[in-house]
Every structure is written in structure tokens, then in C-alpha cells.
Symmetry: D2
Subunit: 170 residues, 4 copies
């Protein structure tokens, strides 16, 4: 069996309308590519939007919940992984993703970017400007940083072809 | 979106030929029902067999790995959740399952039965005789215990219909 | 620096008066030996009693809490480890103990015994009769099973001297 | 029983000589105050140095290891918490600390700062300039940032007196 790539979409529980639209479109495009979308599973912000975008276009959606129940699970999540582990699930989000896309978020999202760097996961920043810090702290080269979901997809396609691409578009 | 039920199949990394066959058939029947199969993800014993049975019949298979990599992931696993958490992932196995089926196993499987009882998850024993201890220890009624994968499916169907069924067939 | 042995004391959040007294005495004796007592940290049953027994006799007490806060922490716990991980902390309880003592409990305690077996931690049962199941399931020899805290201490002393002792007294 | 404050000291496994000296001194001063030092437990960099500083001055030292064994535990750690959970233990480091001190480090340390912000733990930066990013991202006020272990101690004393102090010295 060939495994579909798992694309982790991280981002805040609170988000602007524009970020919500981008996250929805990103979910949609991930589904259209036949990739699995994985996120933090909660029914808010980037998580809810990206899951909905993927689910409404036939994609498989995995939500790694901090909770041990489904009370706050996003409706677009098809496969809820209930960890009951709170923020420790951020580590699972990152480790389970073949590629991590970071949308705008707060300290939780920053922890996921940091953990992705630690575990050498490819990261793509979508309209989220965090480069300076992470580049200075032991990060050899800038993370790709783009402004549209379509550019994220192109980056992922390149990564999946084994062409590591770290040029950035900002 | 309607979420498919997630059926957790627990059991040993080492297993007899008969148990392997049962696990394969259970995976197959779970897939045919349109349910999601979740297990511990490793490429051995009950995990590998149940994943293969489901995957070869079009089912969605989720493996919650103790590892942070795919080196020992069963080929039948479509969605590997890499936890990097060792045995702590047993808790995730249980919490993420709507219904737990326990096949023969060792101490890891016993820990999952105990955790399932703690979190009030419905459990069905498949050819695995552990009742006396768990019944004595704070367990109000016997766990259903059956000998064939087909009986497991009937039990799950009853549970999903909201008909709690705890009669056992042993 | 020489590390003191860490003795894990597992057992139920609900317990009989006799079990509470035994747990208190066990905590006291562990402290007198200069060993560290580790338990699940909650303010109930075996956890609260064993922590109190150790703390009132000058011992170091570590509580590995399922919570991310101190709201339900036993007063006898000097060092509360806040995991926020729910039942996944049972794995930490076991891995962090050099020797595990299992007092009467429910499914949570059974999960800890199972995990201790999985990770080859020495286990001593204190007035808790679980042998038959675990002995049948891949357990090579019976776990030592005793009726008094004093016998537990003797067993631990033997284990620390490197004299594995698996004779049981029941 | 009055619980001593638990001071978490985060920082890199690799560190400059100057950072090592600062970490040692910080550990020493924490011990002299009668506080518990908690860190990531490994035998390298800031972890090894701060544990040694505390242990050599009679302090209690707790190491929350990513491992399930003691093979890489710093000699200065008196109480090793073996999690077997890899980077997920970073969450435990933060949750178990009453106050977090961040020394220079890499992506692991950044993840701990982010998690500390998420869980509203007081943070003090010791010779580690990360303010701009975290301040911009949903952080209401700058984290205190100091250059000497002595200043860290003063900050902690103020925090323990309930005088929240967020002026920074950089």
C-alpha cells in the first residue's frame, strides 16, 4: 500500500477572516491532491477552517485533540485522535506530519514550529512572519515563507519530489 | 460530516497463527463495515495482521506508533500517528477508540484493557480469557467475550445501535 | 552524587481503612530508609496516605499528577510533577520507579502493574491479589506478594542488594 | 507541609563556556535559596551544569528525561523522572515549574518558552535574547530579561512575594 503524505496544518484557535479563508483553501487544495490533512482538531480558527476545506472536498482529515473526548472537535475532522494530553499533543502533531505548514497563531503554534525544527520536519510558513528568531537560533537556512495556499502546494510538491526547496518568496 | 466509528484492535506483537488469522479477518470485516481500524501500528503480530486485513479490503487504518519514525510501521497502516511516546501511546489507543477489541496479547494488551475500563470504553474480548481478574476489580459486569471475528462485528453493531450488550458467549 | 532509590507506590484513589493504614506505614518506612517515594500525587486513597506517611517522617515525596495544576494534589507531596496528560502519566509513574509496590486499587492500578511488567520493573504486591492473571499472561514467575509494609521493605532491601527475590508469601 | 518552589531551568544541550558558568551559578543560587531545581535531566549543556551547581550546594534536583532509562542522566540529578516520551516531556518541564528560567538554547528551548507562555507561567530570560518574536505574538508585555544569575534570583524572589515584575533590564 502506498501511504498518502500527511500534511500538518498548524495555526491559531483565533484567526482573522483572511487567515480563515486561506486555511480553508489550503485544506481544500490538500484534499484535491489526495494528501491527508492533520491538525490539532479543535473547533476553532485555523483548525476548524482547514479541516472543513479538506472535508468538503473529499479529503481525509485527522485531528490530534488535546482532549480525551469529542466535545470540542471540529466538524470537518473525520478521524479524531483523542490524546487527553493537553499541550503534549503538539509534539504528536509535528511528529506525525511529513510536512508542516504554519499559519498565523500564538504561542501554541510557535511551540509547534520549534518542535518541527527540532525534529527536522520540513516547514512552510503561510502568511506568518516568524523567520528572524528561528533563523538566528540554530536554524541553518530560512524557512520557506509564502502568502498563498497555492504556493504552499507547489512547495509541498517540490518537497515530495525530493527537491528540497528553501528559497523563500516573502 | 458523519464520522465513521473507530474500532481499536489491541493485541500482542507476538501471536499464534490462529490469532493472526482471526486478527486479519477482524480487520477485513471492520473495513467491509466502513469503520476505521485503529491499532498500535507496529509491523508484528495482531497489529500487522489486523491492519493488513482492513487495508486489503479498502478500509482506513490508523496506527498509533510508540515511535517517532516509520521504521517499524506495519505496511497495512495508511495513517501512521507517530507519537514518540513509547508505552504512553497505549492511552491514546484506548481514548481514540469508540470501541475496543482485545485479542490475545501480553502485558501491553492488559494495560490497554485496564485503561479502557478506567475510561469506560466498551470492550469486547476476542478469544482472550481475562475476565476473572478484571471482573473482580471494580468491574460491574463481565466484558463480552467471543471466539470469532463475526461475533465481534455483531457486538459492535449492537453497541452502535445503542443497545449495550454485555451478555457473553464463552 | 549517589541517587536514592525511587520507590513507586501505586494503588487506588478509593481504599479501605486498613489499606490506608498500610499505605501510610509503607510511606513512613520508605522515608525512614532514606528512599524517595513516588506516586500518582492525587489527594485521595493510597496516594494521599503513602505521601503523608513519608512526608511526616522526613522523606522526599514525588507526585506525578494527571493534572496540569495543583488543585487535587495530596498535601504530603513535596515535589508535584504536573503532566497534564491524564492516564498517560501512569506510564511515567512506572518508568520513573526503580521498584514498584502495588497496593489494592482499580483499573488504573492494574494498568500500572501491566506497564511495570512490560518494562521489566520489579513489582511487589502489598495485600493485593492479582497474581493468577498476570502470571498466566507471559509472566515467567510469580510477583512477590506480601501482607505487611515491613515485608515490602525487606523485599526492596533484597532487590537493592541485587538479590532478586521472587518467592512469595501469600 | 510547605512546598518549596520549583524553578525550571531550560537551555541548550550545547552551550558556551560562559553560559555553562552562568547555569552552574544559577543552580547554586537556587539551591542556596532552598528551592527545587527542575530541568530536562540530560548530561549536557545547561542541564548538566545547572544540576551540578544545585547538587553541589545541597539542593534538590529533578530531571524530567525524554528517555525511559538513566543512560544519559546528568550526575547532578537526584530525582530522575523517566518519561520515555521524547520531546513531549518539554510540556512536563514547563507545567511542573512554578517559574521558568530560559537560558540560551535551540529549538527545544524555544518550544519550552512558547509552552510556558501558553500556560501563563512566569518566564525569566537569562542572557537569551528572544523577546521581539514572542512579544509580537500575542504576548502582552515583555518577558524580564537579565544578564546574571543573581538578577534571576531577585526576580524570582519578587515573583514569590506576589509582586509580579515585568520590567526588563536589557
Amino acid at each position: 500500500m502506498k501511504r498518502p503524505p500527511i500534511i500538518g496544518v498548524m495555526g491559531g484557535g483565533q484567526a482573522t477572516d483572511q487567515d480563515i479563508r486561506r486555511a480553508y483553501d489550503l485544506g481544500r487544495l490538500i484534499a484535491v491532491q489526495g494528501w491527508v490533512l492533520l491538525n490539532g482538531g479543535r473547533n476553532s480558527g485555523i483548525m476548524a477552517a482547514s479541516a472543513r476545506g479538506a472535508a468538503e472536498h473529499g479529503g481525509i482529515t485527522v485531528g490530534v485533540l488535546p482532549d480525551d473526548h469529542l466535545g470540542q472537535c471540529a466538524p470537518g475532522i473525520q478521524i479524531p485522535i483523542r490524546t487527553g494530553m493537553g499541550s503534549a499533543r503538539n509534539t504528536i502533531n509535528v511528529l506525525s506530519s511529513d510536512i508542516v505548514v504554519a499559519c498565523p497563531g500564538g504561542s501554541g503554534t510557535l511551540s509547534e514550529i520549534a518542535l518541527a525544527l527540532k525534529h527536522a520536519k520540513p516547514i512552510i510558513l503561510l502568511a506568518f512572519d516568524v523567520c528572524p528568531l528561528f533563523e538566528r537560533i540554530g536554524q541553518p537556512e530560512p524557512m520557506p515563507s509564502v502568502q498563498t495556499p497555492e504556493e504552499v502546494i507547489l512547495h509541498i510538491q517540490n518537497l515530495l519530489r525530493g527537491k528540497s526547496t528553501s528559497c523563500h518568496y516573502t
